[in-house]
């Protein structure tokens, strides 16, 4: 199961837990399953077939470039964070 760390403002949707454990082989499945556990969370994370603009999904140590297709190994940490650009 992946360990999902949600943005601060969504924590109240998940009983203020630091993270929630969710089944899924890839990011799409994990987010779909999260939405089943906590209805309404998906719309904050996904727009159409992609991660919501302005958000990055950190899978493990760094932002995924595969979007919702990112495969997830057991216990992978997933963080949803504001996108960062460099100079």
């Amino acid at each position: 199961m992946a360990k999902l760390f949600l943005p601060y403002h969504l924590k109240k949707e998940t009983n203020n837990e630091d993270f929630v454990q969710v089944e899924g082989k890839n990011l799409r499945e994990v987010i779909d399953n999260l939405d089943k556990m906590y209805p309404g969370t998906k719309e904050h994370l996904v727009e159409g077939n992609r991660i919501k603009p302005g958000l990055s999904a950190i899978c493990g140590y760094s932002a995924t470039r595969k979007g919702l297709l990112q495969e997830l190994e057991e216990d992978t940490e997933v963080h949803f964070l504001p996108s960062i650009a460099g100079g």
Binding site: E73, G86, G87
Partner: protein
């Protein structure tokens, strides 16, 4: 999900300092920059800019300008194709193509629609037979403004009675949509429970810091040449860190398919993040089309660069850090309000991570606010957001060490981030080199030497500060072609800001086992190389170098196939080492250049292409030690010695790495001591030339000593982490701490210029 590489200690090419491939052209003036582009029938474009920082545009009358002799066309925001489609579905399709950019906002930034939001905001543009005619024609455009009260800083912006800049803004404040606000975004990172755990601290220090907006100060101004031809194809040449970004954004603004736009590479005379934005190319393009498909050139003057392009945000930062008597940080809270400028999008996402990234703190709370003000829309500037927050945090850390009489390096070592530490956003570090960087600092000659107090009439002080930048990955492409003489033609898509042609070539040469002089790099146009992301985030030597390594491995595989045909042996029996193919079963040997001369009968030319889309980044840490000399009569502060210590992962070309670090340190020192957008009471910038906007020159600076620490990044085949941004982070804090050491008084606002120094000395 990620490959962990193992490293050689000795390389043939990597770690050397060969003659750079672009060196001759650049020192002889042959290299082609944006201003050098000349096309048959070229005409000039010029921009009319707003004299007011905040005003509503009531009307624009271009008729007199259009009638002027020599004028070809005049455009306003209504001439931008995307503005003509604002209410149709096409905009959404275009928007989806250009991720993470709000085209509706950006198009208003390049040419104002109903409001001007900063002095220098573009209002109209003219094309004419020559530059002076275009400038004169701009003066004939009548714009009627309703002048509005300007919002000059964070405090004014968040005041409940503040004028609202963007009436249609729907802002996200901790997940709630808020209207009628100048706070464009508010988000929070939280680890543990900082609010609660400050109660368990033995000492807590909370301080507020204010910073002014500063500019990147690249010497080459923004420029663009555009030719929108009769076949509806647009060709662009512009000074940019990302030719693909120019293509995509311009195509977006102009409602064109990207295949109708070719962005050509020209050299870049400095960017430092400021040339990740697009200002002139869409305007030059529309003027070209409206001027009978003539090519149009536009170049900003320096005042326009200051007033009309994106600087680094100023803002207000409040830092609260709690420590326990055993020398540990148990809680940290940072409140970050950065000036977005006229439209949303300051560097708060990065600032919110960088602020406490150096330290392993169990309880962290970071609130970050993106604040609209009537100043140019901010842009990236080397490690965007990190120097501002580092200035504040490292000042507080320094004061805590003094209060608790703790050694400043030992305290940082005891609290240093390492593999497994969580950053303020909760993400874990992989292998990082901050502890090694601190240890190198502790052992350095500078830290172990006394300050050279060369003049008894001056005051001296030493400061130390740390900084962090995450460094980027993203998409890159490299093509390799084996030439008949055994040399390799290399095409790549990254703008070469810091010598990346050579650093990429060196990684290819190392992999192929040949001298780097045998690699001939080129940067073609956007039709000729696969997508490559903007040179930014210190990503290019890392990501495009990674693509080069992969392309070289593919080239070796293809060459092995050809050798097997020549030798009539199975491919599996062929070994490759140090540029030579040899047989495992006989004495047959063949070098790459020998193979090249025999290759055509085996199937024609040998080429390879590799594209990567790297998610991983190599977190970078740097430290600055700064000695200053203050003249107590004038308040003038000189940096007399500065040492930058940085974990670079692996220095591919050490002199380039050192040069990047020296440049970043100097820019950070200028930011600390002198640079600012000096804003008058009416909201206009007073110092719009390099005479008045005081950047340091070589005469102001000592040699910047550099200590390279090499803790290889496990996510890159050669251990590269990225170099160019980290070094600008520590100087602000290091200078501030040196001033505190010299004067006994803490300065909380940048720039720490002679006026502020004299106040400290006079009061102290």
């Amino acid at each position: 999900m990620t490959t962990n590489f193992e490293y050689k200690k000795d390389y043939n090419v990597i770690g050397t300092n060969p003659i750079r491939h672009d060196g001759y052209d650049k020192v002889t003036g042959r290299a082609i920059y944006g201003a050098d582009v000349k096309l048959p029938g070229l005409i000039w474009g010029e921009v009319l800019r707003s004299p007011y920082p905040h005003a509503r545009i009531k009307s624009i009358d271009t008729s007199k300008a259009e009638k002027m002799s020599g004028v070809f066309s005049v455009i306003t925001s209504k001439d931008i194709p995307i503005n003509q489609n604002k209410n149709n579905d096409n905009l959404d399709q275009i928007q989806k193509r250009v991720l993470n950019v709000n085209l509706k906002r950006d198009v208003d930034n390049i040419l104002a629609n109903d409001k001007v939001l900063y002095k220098g905001h573009a209002v109209a543009a003219v094309s004419a037979s020559d530059r002076n005619t275009a400038k004169e024609a701009c003066k004939l455009i009548d714009v009627e403004y309703e002048i509005l009260e300007p919002v000059k800083n964070v405090d004014e912006s968040i005041d409940k009675n503040a004028p609202i800049l963007l009436e249609d803004l729907e802002a996200d404040h901790l997940g709630k949509i808020v209207t009628n606000t100048n706070i464009a975004k508010h988000f929070r990172h939280e680890l543990g429970n900082a609010d609660n755990d400050f109660k368990n601290s033995d000492y807590v220090l909370e301080k507020e810091f204010n910073l002014q907006m500063v500019h990147q100060g690249y010497i080459e101004p923004h420029n663009a040449t555009a030719h929108w031809d009769e076949n509806n194809h647009l060709s662009l040449w512009s000074s940019t860190q990302g030719m693909f970004a120019v293509r995509d954004l311009t195509a977006g603004f102009l409602d064109l398919p990207i295949s109708k736009v070719t962005s050509n590479y020209v050299e870049i005379g400095g960017g430092f993040g400021g040339k990740t934005k697009v200002y002139l190319p869409p305007l030059a393009a529309i003027l070209s089309k409206k001027s009978g498909h003539r090519p149009v050139k536009m170049i900003m003057d320096r005042t326009s660069v200051f007033q009309g392009s994106g600087p680094a945000p100023g803002g207000k930062i409040i830092v609260k850090i709690g420590v326990t008597n055993d020398g540990k940080i148990n809680s940290g809270a940072v409140d970050i309000k950065l000036e977005a400028g006229a439209y949303p999008g300051s560097a708060i996402p990065a600032a919110a991570v960088c602020c406490l990234a150096c330290y392993n703190i169990p309880n962290i709370k970071v609130d970050a606010y993106d604040i609209l003000v009537n100043k140019p829309k901010s842009a990236a500037y080397r490690a965007p957001g990190s120097p501002q927050v580092s200035f504040a945090v490292e000042s507080v850390i320094d004061d805590i060490c003094e209060k608790m009489t703790w050694d400043k390096i030992d305290f940082r070592l005891a609290n240093a981030s390492k593999e497994g530490t969580r950053k303020p956003d909760g993400v874990l570090y992989h292998k990082i080199g901050f502890i090694e960087t601190l240890e190198a600092t502790k052992k350095s000659n500078h830290w172990n030497s006394k300050i050279n107090k060369r003049d008894k009439n001056k005051i001296y002080g030493r400061g130390l500060a740390c900084g962090y930048w995450h460094n980027g990955g993203n998409r890159s492409t490299v093509d390799l072609i084996l030439q008949d003489d055994g040399n390799i033609a290399l095409n790549e898509g990254s703008a070469d800001i810091g010598g990346t042609r050579t650093s990429i070539s060196m990684q290819v040469a190392e992999t192929l086992g040949i001298p780097v002089e045998n690699i001939h790099p080129s940067i073609p146009d956007t039709d000729t190389i696969g997508f490559t992301a903007t040179t930014g985030g210190s990503r290019t030597t890392y990501a495009t170098g990674y693509a080069g390594w992969e392309a070289a491995k593919k080239l070796i595989d293809e060459m092995k196939k050809r050798v097997s045909i020549l030798w009539e042996v199975p491919q599996e029996e062929i070994m490759f080492k140090d540029g030579v193919f040899c047989s495992q079963t006989s004495d047959l040997k063949l070098s790459i250049d020998e193979l090249a001369s025999k290759i055509n009968p085996t199937g024609g030319p040998v080429t390879s292409t590799a594209s990567v889309n790297l998610s991983a980044a190599g977190n970078g840490f740097g430290i600055g030690i700064c000695d200053i000399e203050i003249d107590p009569k004038t308040g003038k502060t000189d940096v007399v010695r500065y040492t930058a210590i940085q974990d670079v992962g692996k220095a591919i070309y050490p002199q380039y790495a050192i040069g990047q670090i020296q440049g970043g340190a100097v820019q950070g020192i200028g930011w600390a001591l002198n640079e600012e957008y000096y804003i008058e009471k009416d909201g206009t910038m007073a110092n719009t030339s390099f005479l008045d906007y005081r950047m340091p020159t070589a005469l102001d600076m000592p040699n910047i000593d550099v200590i390279l620490v090499e803790v290889p990044n496990p996510l890159h085949p050669f251990g590269v982490r990225g170099v160019g941004e980290v070094p600008i982070v520590p100087p602000l804090g290091a200078v501030a701490n040196a001033i505190k050491d010299a004067t006994g008084t803490r300065l909380y606002n940048t720039p720490m210029n002679p006026i502020k120094i004299l106040e400290v000395i006079d009061n102290g």
